[in-house]
Amino acid sequence: MPERARKANGNGHERAAAAVRAFWSGTISFGLVSIPVDLYAAIRPRRKSMKLVDEEGNPLGRRYVCSKEGKALDNDDLVRGYEIDSGKLVVIDDEEFDSMAPEVSRDIELRSFVPFEQIPPIYYNRPYFLAPAGRSSKAYHLLSAAMERSGRVAIGSFVMRGREYLVAILSENGVLRAETLRYADEIRVPKAVGLPKRAKANAKLVGALLKEIKTLRKDRLDLAELEDREAEALQTLALEKERKHQDVIEQYGLEEEAPEGGAQVVDLMDVLRKSLSKRASVASAERALADSSSRSPARSHRKRNGNGAQRDRTKTTRNRSRLKQSSRSELQKLASELHIAGRSKMDKPALVNAILRAG
C-alpha cells in the first residue's frame, strides 16, 4: 500500500469496518424456490462528504415549509404532485403509489440467466449485497453455487421506494450481489448523441497507440490508482486543524443523525457473520489488497530486504487489525496503561487511533 494511502488511513477518521445502510427486504424467486433476502449497500459514501453547520458549528438540516402558510411541515404533511402540461398538479397519495406495485415490491423474480460479460458496464448503476434473511440459508447457497458453476448471472426486476429496478444478481465468493442496471431507454445510443459515423483508422497511428497501450498495460489493477486523493487532502487539512485546535466542533453527535430516507445503518460484518458464515470478513477494496499483499510471499521477501519504514508500516497494519478486533473495554484498559488523555470519551475507532499513535 502506498505511503499516501497508509497515512490517510492511519491518521484519518477510522470508519467502522462496514457500516452501511439496509435498504430492502424481500424474496428472490428462482422458479418455485423462494429465497428471503435483505439488501445492503455494497459501496460506502466517499470520505469527503461534509456536514452542513453554521459558523459556530451547530448542525444544520433541511426543513420543508409550506409556501402558502410558511409553516414547518413533517413528513406526514407531505404529498407528491405531478405537474401536467396545463400547469395543473395531479396529486398522487402513498396508497395510490402502493396500488401500482402490490406484491411485486417484495419480490425479485429471476427471469433469465445470462453470461455476465454480455452486460456492458454502461448499464451498471448501483451495487448491493444480498444476505439470507430466512431461517435457512440453504436455498441462498444453492443459487449462489449454481450461478458460480454456470458462469451466468440472473436478471430480474423489483420495486424499491417508489422505483422499479432492473437488476443483475451475481455470486462472488459465496455472497450474492445485486447490481441494479439502467433500462435500455435510459441509455443513449451514439447516433442520438450525434457521434459521427465510424471512420477507418490510420494504421500507422493505431500501431503507435498500440505500443503506448502495451507499455502501460498490466494484468491487475493497482488500487493505488483508484484512491481518493481529494478526500485525503481534505482529511489531512481537517486533522491538521484539529491538532491546532482550530474550528473543532466537539460533541458533534454524528450518531444522532437521522439516516437518509429512514434506511437503517448496520455493520455488514455482523449481518454476514450471523446469516452466512462466522468467518466472513468485509473490507474495502483498498484494505483487502493491503491485507492480502502483506501475506503474499512477494511482500515478505520485499520486507526482509526492505528498509525499516516499510517494516514499521506492516507492523502497524497488523496491530491495527488486532486492535480492531478487541472490545472497547480492552482498548480502554490499554489506553489507560498508555496514559492517553480523554480516553473515557473515545469510541472504538478513536481509541484504536490513539493507541496506535501512542504506541
Binding site: 453554521d54 436455498a139 454456470s150 497507440l209 494484468d219 452466512l276 469510541d347
Partner: protein, 259 residues
Amino acid sequence: MSRAIWRGSLRLGRHRVPVKLYSAVEDRTVHFRLLHIKDRAPVEQRIVRKDTGEEVSKEDRRKALPVSRERAVILRPGELTELEPPASRDIDLCRFVARDALSDQWYDRPYYLGPDGNSAAYFALVEALARTDSIGIARWVMRKKRYVGALLLQDGYLVMSTLRRADQVLSFSGIEPAKSAKPKADELKLAEQLVSSIAEDFDPTAWHNEYRQRVCALIDAKARGKKLEPVKPKRRAARGDLAANLRASIAAAREKRVA
C-alpha cells in the same frame, strides 16, 4: 443531437486525442413536486439549525468534515478553494488493464466521448483499444473536481465511465456455508438444470420499467378525472421441499420454452 458537457484531450504518451464529453444516460425518472397535503401548496426547502429550527442564510453556512465519531472540523471556504485542483483539459491515461479487471462495483456514471475536430486520432484509439481488449484508467479534473474513470468501448465508440474510489468498494472473504446449509449434490444438479433451462443472451430491450409506465398511466388517468384499477397481486410461490420445487420449476420452464 446532444450538447457536449465538457471538452478535453485524452493523453496517451506523446499522443493527444481531443474529445467532447456527452452524458450517456437519459433521466427518465418521473419527477414529482412535494406539496403540503392540506392546501396542496408547493413545499419549500429551508436550511435550519437542527436544535432551534432557526433558518440559516447561505453566507452563514459552513462545511464540516467529521474526523471521529464526536468531532468535526469546519473547513472555511478559502481553505476549500486552496485545495481545488489546478484547472486542466488533460485526461491522463495512466494505465491499461484487462476488461474484467474491474468488477461492476466500481462503475459510477458513463459518458460518451466523441471526437473534437479531427476524428482520425479518435478512431485510431478505438481500434487500438479493441485490439488489446483492454480498458484504460484515466484521471482528469473537470469543473474543479478530480475524477478517475475507465475508458472503454461501446458500439464502436469511446465511453468514459467515472469510477468509485478504493475506499468505497466493499468486498468479502471467508464465506464458507455451515454444513447444514450446504446444498446437496442432487439439489445442485437440479439448480444448474434450472439455470440452463432459462439461460438466454442479455437483451436489455426486453425489459421495461413497468412500474414507471403504470405511474405515468395513473397520472394520465387522474388528469382526465378517471380512476385506474389497482394492479393485481401475483401468485405466491409454492411451498415445499427444495428439490421438488426445483423439478417443478424446470418442468414449467420447459413448457414455456415449447409454447
